[in-house]
């Protein structure tokens, strides 16, 4: 008997499935209500270790806290070379110099004659912190949440569990408080060792705080509040409500760069007191997880296991999009928003996505607004033009995806351990051996094969854009390159072999043993994915007849070997803290050696003349004289070859057509506030790109049904057969 009702229902269901393409995207990972909201979507790979500005030092931590905490200065978003501009300060101060007797010195005093420098920083009045329970007060003026009992804390696991919030004006004392925190015995600030050398009195201050802390703690681990306002720090003082002074030993112009980092952002003592209460740390309620700032954004959801959300700080002070930039910025549309109030985006949602392939696919679907270029997806996204430049592939162009590139202020190199009897030392033999190896290792090929062209071969330790870096012929390393047809060309391998002969190793053979030279190569590159690179490296040494012994190990073992000086050649790299040549050249400064000093000079290079020039250069302003000294230092280092100057990586960033105002900035981390997006365009494109395809479901179900018929027939036949 026919059942027309059931047929109709089935047809209706089928038509619903087939017309699903008209419905909203099914694969949208975000709530449908957010579709046209002014929200930027991004991802994070691993949970940040800390948001405490005295401790945070990693890029994945700065991604968040640089939007929240406001140091007195920041980098200009558009101008190059990088320059500091005021953020909360009224101006970038010029330091005052003093001699040993405290007499003021003129600005042009040589660095050696300066005993102390004083920076006086004035903060703009009228800047307020984000709403936070640490500031909340009762009608009688006492703080609502500064004396919480275990009973009060019951059931509170997030900042949102404290319903009352308030704000307070930013004052100079907050900056003073934060500088004092750098010496806090429990914070282990990574820059304390640097500041010990400069900020007057901070070394002794750390000892004082340690003693006081131990006295207060009495064996407890948590719930201890050390009120830093009670302990004055000689080198840092509050002048008035909006002014503070920092006094340092000698001359150190780089201090201003440090003061543009979150280490020098203000910390309200109320926040420190609030989070230091007993029972708070046990509930993960600490400054490590809940930043309190005056920046453009505030962290409203901190679930590092799933999602972090930044929302516009309702109390954010007036800041305008820059009206000046580089000549090419205007035509590129980067000045279209000049003079408009920042920030443009209301909310930024960071989702935890550890695996690169899902992250990349979500970007292609429009669910992430920006993405780096994956090695796996490089060919899909990027193509090389005839001139050797890069651009997005046709498929990306069709989607309106744009590519932004910039050379990073970083350097990756192969270091020689200068303490090693074979490859180290300062004899002509050792120099020529190192020079020969430098010529033989074809970094242009390495960049082309393994980095997809995302980098430039280095001519020295300085990255492009850093003062002292020279473009063109004047900037090449003459020990490795010739200048041919307007570009550097690596010297031929025959030249390297000749150098090896001059070093006393003809054909790469050690005459003492009659066997090929054998050099150990320490690398933290382990895993099958790195094997091709290591094989390539073996081939580079084979060109000279030298045997390379690859000693791949985990990063901890690698570091241990470096500390002990148990290496001959090794991989290393450096990301600049600030755009100053001192931040690169100190990697070759003798007293900063890894062995014995635990410094950052991993090759243990110690050339007295280089050291002397470094000491002269480090405190100088960016003058022609400084450039001349840097030239001398670079020439010295290139001749001695403590490193094989590897490469400066290039950053590739892809962004969708609905994103505006993107300009890669290697120094500034607080750039979210400049970004703008068009949510309506994004919603339309997402819908167009993500129409569900539902017919295969019906096809699979149909196949299963059809496939079941012979089974049923066979079953019935068997049952009938059994009955007979």
């Amino acid at each position: 008997m026919k059942r027309p009702g059931a047929t109709r229902s089935a047809l209706l269901a089928l038509s619903l499935v087939f017309t699903a393409s008209a419905a909203a995207s099914w694969n949208n990972p975000y709530p449908a209500a957010e579709a046209k909201s002014n929200i930027l979507y991004s991802a994070f790979r691993e949970r940040p270790k800390t948001f405490d500005p005295a401790r945070a030092y990693s890029s994945n931590e700065y991604l968040f806290i640089a939007q929240i905490y406001e140091p007195p200065f920041q980098y200009h978003y558009l101008k190059r070379p990088y320059m500091l501009v005021p953020l909360t300060a009224t101006a970038v101060p010029t330091p005052s110099y003093f001699d040993k007797r405290g007499r003021r010195l003129p600005q042009n005093t040589p660095a050696g004659s300066i005993a102390d420098s004083v920076y006086e920083i004035r903060i703009r009045p009228g800047i307020y912190y984000q709403p936070h329970p640490a500031f909340a007060r009762a009608a009688d003026g006492r703080y609502l949440y500064h004396a919480l009992s275990p009973y009060d804390l019951a059931g509170r696991y997030a900042i949102g569990d404290f319903p009352q919030t308030a704000t307070r004006e930013l004052v100079a004392a907050d900056y003073v408080y934060q500088i004092k925190r750098l010496a806090h015995p429990k914070l282990h600030s990574p820059i304390l060792s640097v500041m010990n050398e400069y900020i007057v009195g901070i070394r002794d201050y750390a000892d004082v705080l340690k003693k006081e802390y131990e006295k207060i703690a009495g064996g407890r681990d948590t719930g201890i509040y050390l009120d830093l306002t009670k302990f004055p720090l000689a080198g840092v003082e509050e002048v008035d409500r909006y002014t503070y002074r920092v006094k340092i030993h000698g001359k150190y112009p780089q201090l201003l760069y440090w003061m543009a980092m979150p280490f020098f952002a203000p910390m309200p003592p109320e926040a420190d007191r609030f989070f230091s209460q007993p029972g708070m740390a046990e509930k993960n309620l600490t400054l490590d997880w809940y930043p309190v700032g005056s920046g453009a954004y505030m962290l409203t959801l901190n679930n590092p296991n799933r999602q972090m959300v930044l929302e516009r700080n309702p109390n954010y002070h007036e800041e305008l999009y820059p009206a000046e930039g580089e000549p090419e910025d205007g035509p590129a549309g980067l000045l279209d928003d000049a003079g408009k109030h920042l920030p443009f985006i209301d909310k930024v949602v960071f989702s935890l996505d550890k695996e690169s392939i899902p992250r990349w696919n979500k970007f292609l679907q429009g669910y992430y607004d920006r993405s780096v270029v994956l090695t796996e997806g490089f060919d899909q996204a990027i193509r090389f033009t005839g001139e050797g430049d890069t651009e997005v592939s046709d498929a990306m162009k069709q989607k309106g995806i744009r590519l932004l590139t910039d050379v990073a202020a970083s350097t990756y190199y192969l270091g020689f351990n200068m303490l090693d009897p074979l490859v180290g030392g300062y004899t002509e033999r050792a120099r020529k051996l190192r020079q020969a190896i430098s010529v033989a290792i074809d970094f242009e090929e390495q960049i082309s094969i393994f980095e997809n062209g995302r980098g430039i071969a280095a001519q020295g330790p300085l990255a492009p854009g850093i003062f002292g870096y020279r473009e063109g012929r004047a900037g090449i390393n003459p020990y490795v390159y010739d200048w041919v047809d307007g570009r550097p060309r690596r010297k031929p391998i025959e030249y390297a072999r000749q150098l090896l002969v001059e070093a006393g190793y003809p054909g790469g053979v050690d005459p003492a043993s009659g066997k090929p030279l054998s050099i150990n190569y320490e690398t933290p590159a382990i895993g099958p994915e790195r094997k091709a690179q290591l094989d390539w490296m073996l081939k580079q040494f084979n060109k000279l007849g030298v045997q390379l012994v690859v000693r791949a190990t985990d990063y901890n073992r690698f570091q241990e070997k470096m500390r002990k000086g148990d290496a001959q050649i090794f991989d290393w790299g450096w990301n600049a803290d600030y755009p100053d040549p001192e931040n690169f050249l100190f990697l070759l400064y003798g007293p900063n050696k890894k062995v014995g000093h635990d410094g950052e000079n991993a090759s243990n290079y110690d050339n007295p003349e280089f050291n002397r020039l470094f000491e002269r250069m480090k405190n100088m302003e960016n003058t022609p004289e400084r450039a001349r000294i840097i030239d001398q230092m670079l020439d010295m280092a290139r001749r001695d070859v403590p490193w094989i100057w590897g490469m400066h990586p290039k950053n590739f960033l892809l962004e969708h057509a609905w994103m505006y105002n993107a300009k890669l900035n290697q120094m500034a981390n607080n750039t979210l506030k400049y970004s703008r997006l068009d949510p309506v365009q994004r919603a339309e494109r997402r819908t167009a790109w993500n129409r569900p395809v539902a017919w295969p479901i019906v096809a699979v179900l149909g196949t299963l049904l059809v496939g079941a018929v012979p089974a049923v027939v066979a079953y019935r036949k068997r049952e009938r057969g059994a009955a007979r």
Binding site: N27, S58, K283, W289, L352, Q559
Partner: protein, 325 residues
């Protein structure tokens, strides 16, 4: 039975101490407290003083197992092993090396793990038993042969392949569900569909083949022949008699994993960005967070022991011949 359970719980104590000791030995064989400190403090501008302070703060400045400098019981108690392990027996997991409350994190992450593991477990059992019964029913036919070959192929394929294929096919090509992610409440459902499908399909090969063997073994027994002789249909024989008896070996493998559902799936959670306990453990291993590693291994051991006890109890329920003495 209560006596038996108490005895098993008491047996568990030395096992847990042993597991703890083994975890401790393996972890510190690979990592030293200095390594841990360096990894946590980062790679730039880490001073020896900062490393010393980091270790002091977390108690990693003590000797590993034996403190010769102390007297009496302190020789054993004032050590890293004792200080970091004893509280576990009171289920006080303490704080991670990053300073977070491990107990709270486990509580938070347990639910996403369960949200995937429970449907995979339940739907998986249903699907695997159905398929294996189907193959048992059509035993000796081309369908059975094809099914077994398919099972062998499916169990030979890496779980990662199912994940990548599932994401590509279902999320990229068909655009039916999100590729990865997680949300709370009903919003979580759309994120769970794909990992659950992948989890179930990934387990079809091995489980179906195993269960088919159990069913075939039962089908050949006398009571089945008797049932058939009584004139019962094949389906009735399978569902009424064979299934019931084959459930005993199936339960052996199934019940023991029930408590472990809490600890989540390492691969599924990592690739689908589900903030469960599986990815928590993997992250802790990568970041050398010993506090979390030992807590998760301890929890896993406790749950496994609980699973074994539960299995024994279940035997008494499904097989009246079994008595726990």
């Amino acid at each position: 039975m209560i006596g038996y359970i108490i005895r098993r719980v008491l047996y568990a104590i030395p096992i847990l101490i042993g597991v703890n000791l083994l975890t401790f030995a393996l972890f510190f064989f690979v990592n030293s407290p200095d390594d841990m400190a360096r990894l946590h403090l980062g790679v730039k501008r880490v001073t020896p003083e900062a490393i010393v302070k980091w270790k002091e703060d977390r108690g990693y400045n003590k000797p590993l197992l034996y403190n010769a400098a102390n007297a009496g019981a302190d020789k054993l108690t004032d050590t890293i092993f004792f200080r970091h392990s004893v509280k576990l027996f009171a289920f006080d997991f303490g704080r991670s090396d990053q300073g977070r409350d491990i107990g709270y994190d486990i509580y938070q992450r347990m639910w996403p793990s369960l949200a995937i593991a429970l449907p995979v477990f339940l739907v998986g059992i249903l699907v695997h038993i159905t398929f294996s019964m189907l193959l048992a029913f059509f035993r000796g036919t081309y369908l059975d042969t094809a099914g077994v070959v398919l099972c062998v192929i499916m169990m030979s394929i890496s779980a990662l392949f199912y994940v990548i294929l599932g994401q590509y096919l279902v999320s990229m090509l068909l655009r039916l569900v999100p590729i990865s992610g997680y949300d709370v409440g009903m919003e979580a459902v759309k994120f769970l569909i794909l990992p659950v499908i992948v989890g179930v399909v990934g387990g079809v090969g091995a489980s179906t083949r195993l269960y088919r063997t159990f069913f075939l073994e039962e089908i050949g027994k006398d009571y089945v022949r008797t049932a058939r002789a009584k004139g019962l249909s094949e389906l009735r024989v399978l569902f009424r008699h064979v299934l019931k008896n084959a459930m005993i070996p199936i339960l052996t493998g199934v019940v023991v994993v029930i408590p472990l559902l809490f600890t989540g799936s390492l691969i599924l959670e990592s690739f689908f960005a589900v903030p469960g306990l599986g990815s928590y453990t993997i992250d802790a291993i990568h970041s050398q967070d010993f506090a979390i590693v030992r807590a998760m291994v301890f929890l896993g051991s406790v749950l496994y022991i609980a699973g074994l006890i539960l299995t024994d109890i279940t035997y008494t329920l499904v097989d009246p011949r079994v008595r726990l003495e």
